[in-house]
C-alpha cells in the first residue's frame, strides 16, 4: 500500500479517547486504519510493511522450530510487565527452550468491543518494545473484535519460529540418571506479582514479574556446554510441575534439595500469606537446565556469568525411579514428594 493510499482516512484514530469498535475487526476500512495507525506504526519492519496476508521470509539453514502461546492474563497490566511484553517473552522462550535462535513472531489479537484504544496502544507499544529488545520482529498478524462482554479486553496469541544451530539437541525426554538439575534464578516471582495485583495486596517491597526473553541466556549456556540435555521454562504450574513433566517424559525420578532452591524473601513471604507454594507458582523469565553431572560446574558458571542467571543454582539430581517421583529433601531434613500441580489455583496467570 502506498503512503498516499494510507492517507485516505477522514480522521486519524482517536488514540486518546477512542474505543475498540466492532468495525475494527470487520476487515474493512476501519480494520485497515487500526492496523496501519496502531500496529504497523509500532511494529514496523520490512516484512510486516507490505501488509500481505502472509509474510515472506528468508530462513537460514538448520532445523526449524515453531511454538505458539495464547495469553489471557488478568490483569492486563501487572508489576513488571503487561500482556504485550508477556506475549513476546512467552513465545520467544518457548522457541529458545528448543535451543533455537528465535527469528520471527506472528501475533493474533482478540479485542473486546469498547476497550480503550489508549490502553491498547500502551499494550502494543510495550509489545513492540519487547520484540525490539529481543531482536525478534513481529512479521504478520491478525485482529478480531468480539462484542462487549464476550472477551476480557485483550487476548493475544503469538507464534514464533526459530532455527536450531547444528550440534544442539534438546529434548524433555533426555534426562538421565545422575544428571544435574539447575534453575536460572529465583522462582515464583511472576505468579506472585500477578496475584498481589489481583488481590490488591500491598507488600513492603513491590514484587515484579520476572517476564523476560531468555534466548540470549540460552545461547550463552549452549555455547559453554553444548551437551545440555533438557531446557524448559517453568511457567504455569511452576518448577514442580515442569520437573514432573520432564521426569515422566524421560522415565526417571528426581531428588531436589529444598535449601538450594532460590526464592526471593518477599516472594516467600507473600506465598506464605497467600497460602501458595512457590514451587507451583508461575515464572516467565526462568529456565530449568538438566546436564550431565560431569558438566555441572561449567553449566553453573555459564549461568551465573549471565545477568539473567546471577542467582542460578544446582537444585538436585536425576534419579532412577520406576514411579517417576520428584522427591525433595526438605530444609528440615525430611523427605517429601513434589507432586504435579492439582487443579488450577491460579487461573489466567499468563
Amino acid at each position: 500500500m502506498s503512503a498516499a493510499a494510507r492517507r485516505e482516512y477522514h480522521r486519524p484514530l482517536d488514540l486518546r479517547r477512542g474505543r475498540v469498535e466492532l468495525a475494527h475487526g470487520a476487515g474493512g476500512r476501519a480494520t485497515a486504519q487500526l492496523v496501519e495507525e496502531l500496529f504497523l506504526a509500532a511494529f514496523d519492519n520490512e516484512w510486516l510493511r507490505p501488509l500481505n496476508d502472509a509474510a515472506s521470509l528468508p530462513m537460514p539453514a538448520g532445523r526449524l522450530v515453531m511454538a505458539t502461546d495464547s495469553h489471557v492474563v488478568s490483569p492486563l497490566f501487572f508489576p513488571g510487565g503487561d500482556i504485550g511484553s508477556l506475549s513476546v517473552h512467552g513465545t520467544v522462550n518457548d522457541v529458545a527452550m528448543a535451543g533455537a535462535v528465535p527469528l520471527y513472531l506472528a501475533a493474533g489479537f482478540v479485542l473486546e468491543e469498547g476497550y480503550p484504544l489508549a490502553d491498547l496502544k500502551r499494550i502494543v507499544a510495550s509489545m513492540a518494545a519487547a520484540a525490539k529488545a529481543a531482536g525478534v520482529p513481529v512479521v504478520t498478524g491478525d485482529t478480531k473484535v468480539v462484542e462487549q462482554g464476550k472477551g476480557d479486553g485483550v487476548y493475544i496469541t503469538t507464534t514464533g519460529v526459530g532455527v536450531v544451530p547444528p550440534g544442539i539437541s534438546l529434548d524433555g525426554a533426555a534426562a538421565r540418571e545422575g544428571d544435574a538439575i539447575f534453575v536460572s534464578g529465583t522462582i515464583g516471582d511472576h505468579g506472585v506479582a500477578i496475584m498481589s495485583k489481583r488481590e490488591n495486596l500491598e507488600f513492603q517491597t513491590e514484587i515484579l514479574s520476572d517476564s523476560a526473553p531468555l534466548h540470549r541466556l540460552v545461547a550463552a549456556l549452549l555455547a559453554a556446554c553444548p551437551r545440555i540435555r533438557v531446557l524448559r521454562d517453568p511457567t504455569r504450574g511452576g518448577l514442580a510441575t515442569t520437573l514432573n513433566e520432564i521426569a515422566r517424559a524421560s522415565g526417571v525420578g528426581m531428588l531436589l534439595e529444598e535449601s538450594a532452591i532460590p526464592v526471593a524473601p518477599a516472594v516467600a513471604a507473600a506465598c506464605e500469606f497467600l497460602g501458595l507454594d512457590p514451587l507451583y507458582v508461575a515464572n516467565e523469565g526462568k529456565l530449568i537446565a538438566i546436564a550431565p553431572a560431569a558438566d555441572a560446574d561449567r553449566v553453573l558458571a555459564a549461568l551465573r556469568a549471565h545477568p539473567q542467571g546471577r542467582d542460578a543454582a544446582l537444585i538436585g539430581r536425576v534419579t532412577r525411579d520406576p514411579d517417576h517421583f520428584v522427591q525433595m529433601r526438605t530444609g528440615l531434613g525430611g523427605r517429601r514428594v513434589v507432586d504435579w500441580l492439582t487443579g488450577d489455583q491460579l487461573p489466567r496467570i499468563c
Binding site: L255, L256, A260, L332, G333, R335
Partner: protein, 386 residues
C-alpha cells in the same frame, strides 16, 4: 527454600529428633494425634515423620475444616448457586469438595452458576456491595480461627444494611470434636485406636486459649501440647508429649506460648458470642452428628443468615460407601487402607473430602508422602552439596 535460618532449622531439627529418639522408651509405642490440619500439612510437607523413631507415630485428626464439611451442607450451597441465582463465595478448597451426584461447587460453576473464590469473608462482603441487585452468599467454614472474621462481616453487613449479603454458616468447634474422638468406642472401650496425647491447634488456641483443653487432660488423662505450625514447633511438641507420657503426666502444656495464653483472645470471643450461638447439633463428615459442636447465626442477624433467608432445610447425605474419610478423620484408618486411595481417588478426582485440601490426611499423604508406600528406592544421600 533459601533462607538464612534454613540451615539453623535443620540443625535444630536434628537436635530435637535426637532428643525424641533418646527419650522415647524403646519398650513402648507412642501414638499422638495432631488435631489440626495445619499440623498434618506441616508434618507431611516437611517430612517430619522421617525424623521420628519408628515407635513414635502420628495420627491425623479431624481438624481440617474442608474435610469435616458433610455433603448435605455443600448441597445446600450448590442449590443456592444453581437454582436461586445467588453469587456464592467461598474459599478455594471448599469449591472442590465432592457433594451429591458427583457435583462440587466448581462443577456447578462450569454449569453456569456464579461461584467465586475469595480469600476472606471481607472479600465476599465487598462483592455484595459491588452487586447490590444480586444476592451474595458467603459459604463460611472453619474452626474458631475463621469464626471472628465471619462475625465481623456479619456485624458490618448488619450495621451497613447490606441487605443482599448473607452467610451460610458452617463454623464448628474444636473442643466438641476432641470430646467426640475421646468418647468414640474405638478409643474408649475397644482400644483399637491407641491414643497417648494430642498436639493441640495453634491458631485456634490463640482465640480460645488453653483452658478448654484442661478438661481433656484431667477427665480423659490425655496430655495436650499446644503447638505452632512450624515443623520445629511440632517436633518440640512431640518431645514434650513423650516426656509427659514417660512421667505419667497428663497436662496441658503450651509450646506456642509466644502467641497463645490461657484465656485466649477475649475480644474475639466476645465478638463471636455477640453474633453466633451454639447449634444444638451439627453433622460432621466422619464424626456424625455431634451435639453442641457448631455455631449458628443469632436471631438479631437473621436477615443475613442464608439458612433463614432462603428457608434452607438440611438433608443429610451418606458418603460414598468405599470412602474411608470417616474412619480416617477419627484416626481408625490410614489413607492407604482405603481401596480408592491413589486409584479412583486422587487430588485431581477427589472422591472424599480428605483428598481435597492439602490439610486433609489423604491429600497430604498423596501429595507429599506416597513414595513411602513402596519399597524404598535407594536415593542418593544428598542431592546437592550445599
Amino acid at each position: 527454600m533459601k533462607f538464612v535460618d534454613e540451615f539453623r532449622d535443620a540443625e535444630l531439627a536434628r537436635g530435637l529428633a535426637a532428643a525424641i529418639a533418646r527419650e522415647a522408651d524403646p519398650a513402648r509405642r507412642y501414638h499422638f494425634m495432631e488435631f489440626c490440619g495445619g499440623h498434618t500439612h506441616a508434618i507431611s510437607r516437611y517430612g517430619v515423620t522421617d525424623l521420628l523413631p519408628p515407635n513414635v507415630r502420628m495420627i491425623h485428626g479431624p481438624g481440617c475444616p474442608v474435610c469435616v464439611l458433610p455433603i448435605g451442607r455443600i448441597d445446600l450451597a450448590i442449590g443456592l448457586a444453581l437454582s436461586r441465582g445467588v453469587i456464592l463465595c467461598s474459599y478455594g478448597d471448599t469449591l472442590r469438595v465432592p457433594a451429591s451426584e458427583g457435583r462440587s461447587l466448581l462443577k456447578a460453576k462450569a454449569e453456569g452458576a456464579d461461584v467465586r473464590m475469595v480469600y476472606s469473608a471481607a472479600d465476599a462482603l465487598r462483592i455484595a456491595r459491588a452487586n447490590p441487585d444480586r444476592e451474595v452468599v458467603f459459604l463460611a467454614i472453619g474452626f474458631e480461627t475463621t469464626t471472628p472474621p465471619t462475625a465481623l462481616v456479619l456485624r458490618e453487613a448488619h450495621a451497613g444494611q447490606v441487605a443482599n449479603f448473607s452467610v451460610l454458616c458452617n463454623h464448628v468447634l474444636t473442643p466438641a470434636a476432641i470430646v467426640n474422638i475421646l468418647e468414640s468406642p474405638e478409643v474408649r472401650s475397644l482400644g483399637t485406636v491407641p491414643l497417648d496425647g494430642f498436639v493441640g491447634p495453634a491458631h485456634v488456641s490463640t482465640v480460645i486459649g488453653t483452658e478448654p483443653y484442661e478438661f481433656f487432660a484431667q477427665e480423659y488423662r490425655k496430655p495436650v501440647v499446644i503447638a505452632g505450625f512450624e515443623p520445629l514447633d511440632v517436633m518440640q511438641a512431640i518431645l514434650m508429649l513423650v516426656r509427659q507420657v514417660n512421667e505419667r503426666r497428663s497436662q496441658v502444656e503450651n509450646q506456642f506460648s509466644r502467641v497463645v495464653n490461657r484465656a485466649g483472645n477475649l475480644k474475639a470471643q466476645a465478638l463471636v458470642a455477640e453474633v453466633f450461638e451454639l447449634r444444638r447439633e451439627f453433622e460432621w463428615r466422619g464424626l456424625g452428628t455431634v451435639p453442641y459442636s457448631a455455631l449458628r447465626i443469632r436471631e438479631a442477624f437473621a436477615a443475613h443468615d442464608a439458612e433463614r433467608k432462603f428457608s434452607l432445610v438440611y438433608q443429610p447425605v451418606a458418603d460414598n460407601k468405599a470412602c474411608e474419610c470417616g474412619a480416617i478423620l477419627r484416626g481408625i484408618k490410614r489413607p492407604v487402607e482405603c481401596k480408592l486411595f491413589g486409584g479412583a481417588c486422587t487430588p485431581e478426582t477427589p472422591m472424599g473430602s480428605c483428598m481435597v485440601s492439602s490439610e486433609g490426611a489423604c491429600a497430604a499423604h498423596y501429595s507429599y508422602g506416597r513414595f513411602r508406600d513402596r519399597e524404598a528406592v535407594p536415593a542418593p544421600a544428598a542431592a546437592v552439596q550445599p
